[in-house]
Symmetry: C2
Subunit: 361 residues, 2 copies
């Protein structure tokens, strides 16, 4: 039997084993075509079925209606930091951004090259340990859009509500919690996500964009940088990241097989709950995010000393639990438990945490 790491990486991250096994089975000869998905013309019927199938499954899962287009782009969330303002910041020439961490800050920096950015809310002064509440947001009703980062991998915080933005389109970087729970797409003008957490491998990004939001972009920007270009061609304007889209399609089908986003949410709440129960004892382990803002996907915590944290990471690694070291800006430990992390993986971690505390507490 294949050895399987219990992989707590924040991204690229663990994928469902059954997806990997199916991809392996079909890698050289995809379903009798005599070729790999990596060798298929992106204009062939076989690839078309893969491509349209992935779009259709995502549309069902996200309950996205016709007013939204589902796009597969490249360049990750980082390119979206530029594409969003290049396409949308063209009426008021200013946008509102809520700063909830390092990734928000990067989005803000890129938008600032295109137009005026207002900080409509921030938890920077509190080391990004929480999400600002609606009544703390200072929203400009004439902004071109409002941008939030729904889950913050580094700080382990996640928006527990969708902000009310009136008629201003809400734009969200959903890279690290997309598909972890149901999402009300009618509230969003545009969401975007790098695939490498809950969707599939790195190298493709998902954009779901309302049709009226696409109309704002000037034709003077590069064709590849305009959402409209890709929407008009069903993400086949140029050769897409076929293999990555294929895997995203398999992952989406796997999520459906698990019962869809409601089931994912229940499973994710249960898994995160096992770890938060330990942190809530506030004894040996200490969570860094505030309770009302904690993430279901990324759980950072500290131990009494940095020396114990180093031992924790080393001993966990020796038992097959990898990538538990926290981000350098927060320190400590971080357990990323995306959809594909099995409950048994979290149980193994929790048992290890209890044993480690017993020995060193």
């Amino acid at each position: 039997m294949t050895k399987r790491a219990i992989n707590f990486s924040a991204g690229p991250a663990i994928l469902p084993l059954s997806v990997l096994e199916e991809a392996r089975r079909d890698l050289v000869d995809y379903q009798g075509t005599g070729m790999s998905v990596m060798e298929m013309s992106h204009r062939s019927p076989a690839y078309d079925e893969i491509h349209l199938g992935a779009v259709a499954t995502l549309r069902r899962l996200l309950q996205a209606e016709d007013e939204h287009d589902i796009l597969f782009l490249q360049g990750g969330a980082s390119l979206q930091f530029s594409m969003v303002p290049m396409n949308l910041m063209f009426q008021a020439r200013r946008a509102d951004y809520v700063d909830t961490g390092a990734w928000s800050a990067k989005a803000i920096a890129e938008a600032g090259k295109v137009g005026e950015v207002r900080i409509a809310g921030s938890s920077r002064e509190e080391s990004y340990t929480r999400i600002p509440r609606q009544n703390e947001l200072d929203l400009d009703p004439s902004a071109d859009y409002i941008h939030i980062t729904t889950n913050n991998t580094i700080y382990g915080t996640e928006w527990d509500y969708i902000p009310e933005t009136g008629s201003v389109p809400l734009v969200a970087d959903v890279s690290s919690d997309i598909m972890s729970k149901p999402i009300d797409m009618t509230r969003f003008g545009l969401i975007y996500a790098g695939a490498q957490k809950n969707l599939g491998p790195a190298g493709v990004s998902l954009v779901v964009i309302r049709k009226d939001v696409q109309d704002r972009a000037p034709k003077t920007i590069g064709s590849m940088l305009r959402y409209r270009t890709h929407a008009e061609k069903g993400s086949l304007y140029n050769t897409p990241a076929c293999w990555a889209i294929y895997i995203v399609g398999l992952v989406a089908r796997w999520v459906e097989g698990q019962g869809g986003l409601d089931s994912m949410q229940r499973a994710n709440e249960e898994k995160a709950g096992f770890i938060y129960d330990i942190l809530d004892q506030e004894a040996f382990y200490r969570g860094t995010a505030r309770r009302e803002s904690r993430s279901l996907m990324n759980i950072p915590f500290r131990l009494p000393t940095e020396e114990l944290e180093r031992r924790f990471v080393a001993e966990a690694s020796a038992e097959g639990m990898t990538n538990l070291k926290g981000h350098r800006s927060v320190g400590g430990i971080r357990a990323s438990i995306y959809n594909a992390m099995p409950r048994s993986g979290v149980e193994t971690l929790v048992a290890f945490m209890q044993e480690f505390e017993r020995k060193h507490g």
Copy 2:
């Protein structure tokens, strides 16, 4: 045994079987790490080795010295159509482009959004059936750069010389002939290629760029759109297309194992020669590109009637030879025979061509 198509697709295209088999073997558990390459943190030692290994192998194959950086980007050649002018068109604010086909024309259209484009040569009036000679080029010595498309997949033409451009940086879209033969990198300021012909799967693009050429870009463009950003971070500014880069590394090692680019050239000349020998009889089959400009990679040809062309494609397909239909703008047949097309595949095609001519000629 796995059925294997003889895949003449212009791209995404055939990959070496041994590469696919190695990728399949390691797909679920990469060399004892307990995880797939698709699940690895891009900051992990295991991925680092893959990433740096791919860069190093390409550097050896292309004989690129330190003055060039080797980058893995996303968005294909199409995004490069915009990135090249956004980064380079900032002194004279004009550039020379040689128009040798549909892909050149797309590059020209995107550059025209950034600055002034001069057409320094064109074979458009001759239906792109040949490459303009050096003495036909009208080059501007003060241009910011000169852009060529070294191989034109649709028309089956390929530059058989590197144009002399003096001190003006030469920029080339080498998407469809990179690694098919040795290249003198000292003559190029920047080359770029979508991977999906001779390098690997779609979803990653290779850029080889001279350091001084990177310096031209203004800091006002998006970070992801600046070559400098990626060069400074070794293509790890954000999460790269890890899986696609992994496959590119395997393909590059395969090319080395075949004896490098000199060997590839000999093999490609031999393979193309088999087909051109038939076209040169100028009887039943008729090549569309002019002899001095014909491509080693893509060979378009016509049959006496469109009805015979349809039968040719259908009967070839029934014998396992796929994607032989020519591009709609040229019609007829097109055989794309990239590095990974085995000699036996071309021999099968040639035998089929002879038999088809015998029956219908």
